[in-house]
Point group: C2
Chain length 144, copies 2
DNA sequence: TCTTGTTAGTTACATTTTCAACTAATACCA
DNA sequence: TGGTATTAGTTGAAAATGTAACTAACAAGA
């Protein structure tokens, strides 16, 4: 059925990454979406605060590679859901420090655990060496 | 600055894939978006028709793993831009065969070439063996 | 041939994302 | 001190996506 052998889209890295990302994100989405009513950006924000501690929205933008409007809306949403709180910084009232509430911490711990299991499930088809290789390569591609 | 060492989001496969996909798709997006005014789904449709020959929208859904509404809209858009034409199948008037116009074929050839160069550029940091390994692993993750 | 079920594709609507413009606070510098 | 430039974050409108309901054509059995 192959017509033009010039270049196969199935070997195009951005396409392979897009398909893989779609394939793997759907399963995890159910966890944070159905259970906590979160959006992808909200989950990322939660994880960054949980893992790396309090930081400003700007820090989240840089670390999580998210646009400021996305972060701004995620902050509003997670604040409304009582997962995070913001504390104004008196020395520079332009930004506010974001941190998890007790409730947010619980959600983070639960989702973090779930992510770990889900990751293990996804990776079970790969040997430990392969797992390390795959993730190392992806970090290089993502410039992490 | 690390607070909770339980599980690092940077090692979570869906997250790594999402970042890598975003990182690599942006560069290519400029090509099909700015030059041809195409959307991601439209580019995928074009590539599938160019590479694998004429097929119905349903075939595209299955092969390209796209939802039928996305494909339906991409078909309408690419038809309006004169990149593809549809031919009704008399034996079953429910579906129509999609194929590239001369204009669409030129766009496909151009973009296919651009994709190849872009892919090479992305992969140049990897040795030939590493390139093969990375893509093989991704195909396994994506269940291709 | 009716009627029930399935399939291909479209349309409508709600949700998300993106983009650009905006406000408010601070920094820099003549 | 005053004026301009930056920076953090918000808001609104437009574009894109996802979901579900819909139409039209065909299939298959009573």
């Amino acid at each position: 059925m192959i017509q033009n052998a010039s270049f196969d889209i199935q070997d195009f890295l951005p396409y392979l990454l897009a398909l893989s990302a779609e394939e793997t994100s759907l399963g995890f989405q159910r966890l944070y979406k159905d259970k906590y009513g979160m959006l992808r950006t909200e989950w990322r924000l939660l994880f960054h605060l949980g893992r790396y501690g309090d930081m400003t929205a700007k820090d989240v933008c840089d670390r999580a590679r998210l646009h400021k409007t996305k972060v701004s809306r995620a902050v509003t949403a997670l604040e409304a859901k009582q997962f995070i709180k913001r504390t104004e910084v008196p020395s520079d009232r332009r930004h506010a420090l974001l941190g998890l509430t007790r409730h947010g911490l619980k959600a983070y711990e639960d989702l973090s655990q779930a992510a770990q299991s889900y990751d293990a499930r996804l990776m079970q088809e790969f040997s430990p060496e392969e797992q390390k290789t795959l993730k190392d390569y992806l970090k290089r591609v993502a410039r992490l």
